[in-house]
């Protein structure tokens, strides 16, 4: 029931959202989080690296945790890897449920846990040719920890 994908290609938010309620009438709401690449400090591109195999396992574990906490009718996690330009989407999280509270909470949980519990790494490339690895943020650890 869950869709989990790691891919270089962009994704179609409308099509992914529609897929969660296609052919069924028990879905009362779909909450979404769409993460985009910001152009901070002259950023030219983000390069996303991941750990093939472990990434999919980690995402499946995070989705299973969400499904255990909230009564979801479906959910979708799609994370891009490779070179991503400012303005382009990086990650899509969708959580569908009969009622909004479960959908909204599960969506927030999924992106909070994904940020600290899935093996992705971002490298920033700048217009002047400089490059640096993004450092993990304590605020992301705190966001994940608040779910217990």
């Amino acid at each position: 029931m869950a869709t989990i994908r790691v891919q270089e290609a962009p994704f179609d938010v409308a099509a992914e959202t529609a897929a969660l309620s296609a052919g069924r009438v028990d879905v009362g709401g779909i909450a979404s989080f769409l993460g985009l690449c910001r152009a901070d400090d002259g950023l030219a591109a983000l390069v996303l690296e991941h750990y093939p195999g472990m990434t999919e396992r980690a995402l499946a574990g995070i989705v299973a945790e969400a499904e255990g906490r909230w009564p979801l009718t479906g959910c979708t996690v799609i994370h891009r890897v490779g070179r991503i330009l400012p303005g382009e989407p990086i990650v899509l999280v969708l959580a569908a449920s009969r009622h909004r509270t479960a959908a909204l909470e599960a969506c927030a949980f999924l992106i909070d846990w994904l940020k600290t519990g899935a093996p992705f790494w971002k490298r920033e490339e700048f217009a002047d040719g400089q490059s640096r690895w993004v450092e993990a943020r304590a605020s992301d650890d705190a966001a994940a920890a608040k779910w217990g």
Binding site: G35, L48, E49, H50, Y51, G53, M54, R57, A58, H79, I90, V91, I111, L114, K115, T116, G117, A118, P119, F120, W121, K122, R123, W133, V134, E135, A136, D140
Partner: protein
Amino acid sequence: MEVLYFAWVRQKVGVGSERVSPPPAVTDIGGLMDWLSSRSAGHAEAFAHGKQIRAAVNQEFCTRDHPVRVGDEVAFFPPVTGG
């Protein structure tokens, strides 16, 4: 034992993966990190930042005291920054 490196750990070590045969005295992640440090200048530089390095055994996050065995897939990488 297959050892994988990601992000700046991979860049400092110089390879993305390697097959190694540590001596029997190497029984856990911490011991493996110490032993790998001696393999090259690049390894030494990467593991000099040991406190910033996270590990996984057989694709599960683990701590320094996690055992390592022949046939394990072990990975070293910085704290994750996806999303």
